[in-house]
């Protein structure tokens, strides 16, 4: 047997999206030995799919904007379930994180004065999203990628981490991974580990997420003793493509609505005026005329209801379709063609134009799009300290979508890209601090060989089950029972069925060799997909109310008492997907009076 490849680092970062790369920059600038490990190629992470922009109260378009307004919008969007301190740090620091991207070569769209242009988005009181047309995520990822290269950070590409390693004292020790091209295993010892693995959408049938979003970081952190919270809060983006079926779920940017697009049902009605919740009535237009004035001048009218937070819009679309006012393919219409010139649409929304033309044969400058909700983002994730992004496992940090708290129960569009930068940087700083104080690590060989054996098991198993079949059944189950609208009996059934899927996964088998074998790779993704699915279903069952990304048909209102708690999930350290997950309510940290006052003023 050849010797296993091994590397020794101060800080390793799992995931090469915006948060992971931003963390790596910070740790590397401290002169530490840093590596990024990604299961895809560098520059392909899901961040690249972000379209509309990065929210930051720079005040370039509306000088009235400032961090306090952004903070208030974020908390209200999250239905006050946010970690207030994270929302505050995010609102205060995002402008600097955007300017920093310019220092590294990013080219944002400009205002007439030559400043960074900002666009309107749902839930943001002012035009606040720094953007590059509708491909802002690509700009962010390329800028960070080029920064990573210029700093000479080690990058392990197409290298999938299967488990985190821990020391006897419970602190993190590193990770075990395999190279996808060769199937060879590799171990990393690390004084600190930053998890930046993104989301979980691939456990649902209709999702805007890529194959990578299998919840690896959520699951690995839980198995290693970290806590998860708000796993029930999943954002269904209101506008995903619905036709053709093969592209169902692909994202249609909120920028379409920010730039003047409106939602209509099959009767041609702008139905969103019928769905304005009391919380948002004071600042939402009452007529189409008023809403249309707002686009040109925010002082001339109130916001169009199409730009309510995403949870509100997604639920409304769902209701319209259920009431029989949907399109032939089960969505509603998103119309910008009748409202803006073809030239404007092609300039502001080039990739949407391209996407619909190529994939659906629809010219969005002439026809309305058919859209419907798609599983897009998980607000829940690893429970972290606001200042440092530290989990409860010493040396283990989490940033970006895999962490929880920042967005409460519902994320505002544009707050993700800025979240990645603000908390990626904070995680990188804190991980570097921790690593500097820590003695070298030696790995527990029994732990390593056990995890490798688990990962290889599907290859040796004969006549087991096809991993694609299990994935398919999981996606159907989560879509049907833990979808946009949930209820008690369906959630109980989901948890029972997930137990069955766990048993089936024990018997999964993969044919072929270890080299670039997608069947085997999927078999090694299934444990994390199951763990996050169970966590989500458990949380959805326990949170008996409707709030943001958790909508219960049997508990349609928000419960003020449940608005004061997080549902926190735990496993014993070293557990895996087969072990039980506990869940319990824990009180939310209370906001200081000076911040509370911001919400009083607004009333």
């Amino acid at each position: 047997m050849t010797e296993r490849e091994h590397h020794d680092y101060d800080v390793i970062i799992i995931g090469a999206g915006g948060a992971g790369m931003r963390a790596a920059v910070e740790a590397k600038q401290r002169g530490l030995k840093v590596a990024i490990i990604t299961k895809s190629l560098l520059g392909k992470a899901h961040t690249v799919m972000a379209e509309g922009g990065a929210a930051a109260a720079m005040g370039n378009v509306y000088k009235e904007d400032n961090w306090k307004v952004h903070f208030r919008d974020t908390m209200r969007g999250g239905k006050m379930l946010n970690n207030w301190r994270m929302a505050q740090l995010h609102a205060q620091e995002s402008p600097d994180r955007i300017y920093e991207l310019e220092d590294w070569g990013a080219l944002f769209d400009r205002t007439k004065e030559g400043k960074i242009q900002q666009r309107d988005f749902g839930g943001h009181l002012y035009a606040r999203l720094a953007h590059v047309g509708d491909r802002t995520g690509l700009e962010l990822i390329r800028t960070m990628q080029q920064r990573i290269v210029s700093l000479d950070v080690d990058v392990y590409m197409e290298c999938k981490v299967v488990r985190l390693l821990t020391n006897d004292d419970g602190s993190v020790a590193g990770a075990v991974a395999y190279w996808r091209p060769t199937g060879e295993f590799v171990t990393f010892s690390a004084k600190a580990v930053v998890i930046a693995t993104g989301g979980v959408g691939k456990s649902w049938k209709f999702t805007s997420n890529s194959w990578e979003s299998t919840g690896d970081g959520h699951a690995m952190a839980l198995w290693a003793g970290a806590e998860l919270q708000e796993m029930e809060c999943i954002q269904f983006h209101p506008t995903g493509m619905v036709w053709p079926l093969s592209v169902r779920g692909i994202l249609v940017t909120e920028g379409v609505r920010g730039d003047g697009g409106v939602l209509r049902n099959s009767e041609g009605k702008r139905f969103m005026f019928d769905y304005v919740a009391p919380m948002f009535r004071a600042e939402t237009a009452e007529s189409e005329e008023e809403a249309d004035r707002w686009y040109d001048d925010h002082a001339a009218g109130r916001r169009p209801p199409e730009l309510l937070p995403r949870d509100e819009v997604a639920r409304s679309i769902n209701t319209e379709v259920k009431a029989g006012r949907g399109t032939p393919h089960g969505g509603v219409y998103l119309d910008i063609a009748s409202r803006r010139s073809a030239e404007f649409i092609r300039r502001r929304l080039p990739s949407m134009y391209h996407q619909f033309m190529e994939l659906a044969g629809v010219d969005i400058t002439r026809e309305a799009m058919e859209i419907g909700p798609t599983c897009h983002y998980i607000m829940g994730g690893v429970r972290v300290d606001a200042e440092t992004a530290a989990s409860c496992v010493p040396g283990l940090y989490a940033a970006g979508e895999v962490s929880a708290g920042m967005h409460g129960s519902n994320r505002l569009g544009g707050n993700s890209l800025s979240d990645l930068l603000v908390f990626g940087r904070r995680a990188g700083m804190a991980a570097a601090d921790y690593a500097e104080s820590k003695a070298p690590i030696s790995l527990n060989e029994a732990q390593v060989s056990g995890y490798i054996a688990d990962a290889l098991a599907p290859l040796g198993r004969e006549n087991g089950e096809n991993p694609y079949t299990i994935q398919h059944d999981l996606q159907e189950l989560m879509q049907a029972n833990v979808g946009i609208i949930r209820k008690e009996d369906e959630l109980v059934e989901a948890l029972e069925q997930l137990e069955v899927l766990k048993e089936r996964t024990k018997n999964v088998s993969a044919s072929g060799g270890v080299s670039y074998n997608p069947g085997w790779n999927l078999a090694t993704d299934l444990p994390s997909m199951l763990t996050v699915s169970i966590s989500a279903a458990q949380g959805a069952l326990e949170r008996r109310e409707s709030r943001g990304g958790q909508t219960r048909e049997d508990f349609p209102k928000a419960d003020p008492e449940l608005g004061k708690v997080n549902f926190v999930q735990r496993q014993t350290q070293g557990a895996g997907y087969l072990n039980p997950i506990s869940i319990s309510p824990e009180p939310l940290a209370e906001m200081p009076d000076e911040l509370k006052a911001l919400f009083e003023e607004a009333k």
């Binding site: 392909k44 690249v48 080029q146 994939l359 670039y516």
Partner: protein, 259 residues
């Protein structure tokens, strides 16, 4: 036709062969959907690289009927009806397995690009006009699918040229930096001497395959060639730069990555 015959290359660096898969046709599908159905039913170990399935990440580049295409953006009904669809890996890069190729050449070339190095940020931030950023923005649309590299005849059948030729993807990167309103590094000599700009004889194959419709040849390579020539021979351009105080660094300085 209710069925589609897919002829897919299977193998690794030691060789391989075509395998035929007959699949039912489904309305609106792209070629990647059919590959996925083959994986899920008959060949779970069929290797293909993909991520977003929306034409945004540039992972699923391969060759369909001999032409570089994104598998996720090629609709089956755009191909000749009733004819077998042949899918092969990109030819310019070594095969890992089946349709997945080793594109590390491109990541090595990326490391050789001297980094962006801006003028100091003024106290009230950088000011740039939209018209000035748009030139660079066109090149920053690149999704790094590397199909322009694959189709470029300088390296497609000439492995030996890879040592001295950056390829269209990186020519647009150099052009972007050259045209960046804030950058101070001068990479023109490097592009001419070490990156093989002169080997490109502007046949525009790269422009034709670009899924982002970047005018690689007209907007990047030709202007870059002109600027490189200016740097060498044109005293007026030299004087112009002096007068305009365009303080680009020399290629030797530029070759050093900043902190």
């Amino acid at each position: 036709m209710t069925e589609i015959t897919m002829r897919v290359w299977r193998g690794d660096q030691n060789g391989g062969a075509f395998e035929n898969y007959v699949m039912p046709k489904v309305e609106g599908e792209v070629v990647l959907d059919v590959i996925h159905r083959i994986q899920a039913t008959t060949a779970p170990d069929l290797a293909v690289r993909w991520n977003c399935k929306a034409g945004k990440c540039g992972s699923c580049s391969a060759e369909i009927n001999g032409k570089p295409r994104l598998l996720c953006m090629t609709r089956v009904d755009s191909l000749p009806d009733g004819e077998t669809v042949t899918v092969t890996p990109m030819r310019a890069f070594p095969v890992i397995r089946d349709l997945a190729t080793d594109v590390s050449f491109n990541f090595e070339m990326a490391r050789k690009v001297p980094a962006f190095n801006p003028i100091p940020r003024p106290a009230d931030g950088y000011r740039m006009q939209q018209i000035d950023v748009e030139r660079g923005q066109e090149f920053r649309k690149c999704i790094e699918c590397f199909m322009c590299q694959d189709v470029c005849h300088v390296i497609r059948d000439h492995e030996e040229n890879k040592l001295k030729y950056a390829g269209p993807r990186f020519f647009i990167r150099y052009a972007e930096l050259e045209m960046h309103p804030l950058d101070t590094n001068d990479r023109r000599e490097l592009v001419r001497e070490k990156m093989g700009l002169g080997m490109c004889n502007i046949t525009k194959c790269c422009t034709e395959v670009c899924p982002e419709h970047i005018k690689i040849t007209d907007n990047a390579i030709i202007p870059l060639k002109e600027r490189v020539v200016d740097a060498d021979f044109d005293p007026v351009a030299w004087l112009g730069r002096k007068i305009l105080r365009r303080t680009k660094r020399t290629s030797e300085e530029a070759a050093v990555q900043p902190d």
